[in-house]
């Protein structure tokens, strides 16, 4: 299963995904994490700037990731009951 790295920005709580160089607010920008997942996660935890960093399972292809759990799909799209607050990088329709 493909994994991507996600977390929440300390200052704002924003939901973020790791794009290979920096954190993005768009899941579409996420990169697949390979064998470097564990050290990358350890690095993020030690830096203490991203809360709850975690590797999650996704299907799809780069630019079109779809988390496998409803919880992560909700995080990526926004509340399913407030389409006006949707993040735009993933439609609430996929929840």
């Amino acid at each position: 299963m493909t994994k991507i790295l996600t977390g929440n920005r300390l200052e704002t709580g924003d939901v973020l995904w790791w794009d290979g160089h920096d954190w993005s607010t768009r899941i579409a920008d996420a990169v697949a994490i390979g064998d470097d997942g564990a050290p990358l996660l350890a690095e993020m935890i030690a830096a203490e700037r991203i809360n709850d960093p975690v590797l999650i399972d996704v299907t799809g292809t780069p630019g079109n990731w779809l988390p496998t759990t409803t919880r992560e799909r909700v995080r990526a799209s926004g509340p399913s009951v407030r389409a006006d607050l949707a993040r735009g990088s993933l439609s609430t329709e996929v929840i």
């Binding site: 929440n8 300390l10 200052e11 704002t12 709580g13 924003d14 939901v15 203490e48 700037r49 809360n51 709850d52 496998t68 759990t69 409803t70 919880r71 909700v74 995080r75 926004g78 509340p79 399913s80 009951v81 407030r82 607050l85 929840i95």
Partner: protein, 546 residues
Amino acid sequence: MYRYDHFDQAIVDARVAEFKDQVGRRLRNEITEDEFKPLRLMNGLYLQLHAYMLRVAIPYGTLSGTQMRMLAHIARKYDRDYGHFTTRQNIQYNWIKLDQFSDLLDDLSKVEMHAFQTSGNCIRNISSDQFAGAAADEIADPRPYAELLRQWSTLHPEFSFLPRKFKIAVIASDTDRAAIQLHDIGLQLRRSDTGDLGFRVYVGGGMGRTPVVGKVLRDWIPVGQYLSYSEAILRVYNRYGRRDNIYKARIKILVNELGIAEFTRQVEAEWALLEPLGLDAPQAEYDRIIAQFADPAYDLSAPDTLDLSDPDFAVWVKQNVHPHKQPGYAIATISLKPRRGIPGDASSAQMDVIADLAERYAQDEIRVTHSQNLVLAHVKKADLYTVWQALAAADLATPNLDLVTDIIVCPGMDYCTLANARSIPISQKIAALFENDVAQQQDIGELKVKISGCINGCGHHHAGHIGILGVDKKGEEAYQLLLGGSGAEDTTLAKILGPGFDENGIVVAVEKLIARYRSIRSDPSERFLDTYRRVGADTFKEAVYG
């Protein structure tokens, strides 16, 4: 209503300054998230699925217009223009930023509000009857006693690290509008044959993972001694509560493991030591607080009649207006369950409208109900039509109090990191079946549907006439169906009816339940709950599962 004295304000100011310093240290990486997390939780700040969530305390659910206007300001300035009123009579904001949090706390403290003890293993916001001080059926206003509990429990050093969270509710009527038997401590104010006031004390009630109906610990404790008696209960719990297992740490588990007789013996023994120490408030302090909850200056010449010639107004009055103890006045409930809405949510513009109405027409008081609605407790009947028109213009006049579309719902997996399933969409789909036909809703009658997105039970599913619990079934959302709960004076716990459903299946099941109820009720006045109690579960099982 109660106004802070300089002690109250000094406590809030000191705590705000302390937490602002802690926030600054976290933002500068001087403390880790592991160190910061318990500090922010003790100040009501959670990290949820999309952002930080702040829960602001509303003691016993009472607000002034100024306070409501500040809640609107916070929604507008620091959040996304709305707030969510909760089943603990509080308000939550879902999109808070940590780097703006210090300014937010300053704004809150300007109107005698804060967020501490809305999380953590401490005594939480004291809840009460939303009709307190106005209800025709109460023997006295219970809020002075709730306020004294608030003062006693605020930053209480001995009870800041309890085995688990602790919830207290206070009422003063035989009609229970605060679910006191489902609290860690439930207090019912009563009057003796000789005219004295005292409390019946329930202990060990609660919902969540292990739902339990509270037991009567004492049938009578004089009002002058309820504080030391409460302290004795907390001491026994603090000493022996199960700190080794979070799922067994609530007082209800201790009461069940010891048995009510032994638990009572231990509390009485502790109280015998405590009571002589003079912990209870002097009469002057009771008098000072009670005076702040004195009745407003009623217009004694206010007419006690209503013009119900507008049929839409008449429907709203029938459903959402209750008798007031003062002739010429009424209690109006503002439904936060509009068509296609999210239960408990209010926009900042709506909060401003309610603040204005409270100041102009309701003695500057607003109440939050545990059913996620709001109340204007003192409205002249002569002003009621004007109030209704203003509410209707703001989509706040849905006439559905206690009907099938007045659903209690937790935020569920649309917001909450603990949730296993979404709950708001389920409520919207159930409401959609009935919300366009008020007459049909009224024909169905009182029907309390309550939905939680996880076993923690913030949506009170165990107290629902129809309860729904969201669960995780191999990564998919699923829903259990429960029947027969009540959080009123006839408290019972709902029981699971049978196998669970998917999102659409649970909605169909509820529709079938209601259809079966209407076909078998003894007469139109028999409530769903009463029919269930009369005939049992089998016929409803047959209706749902075939």
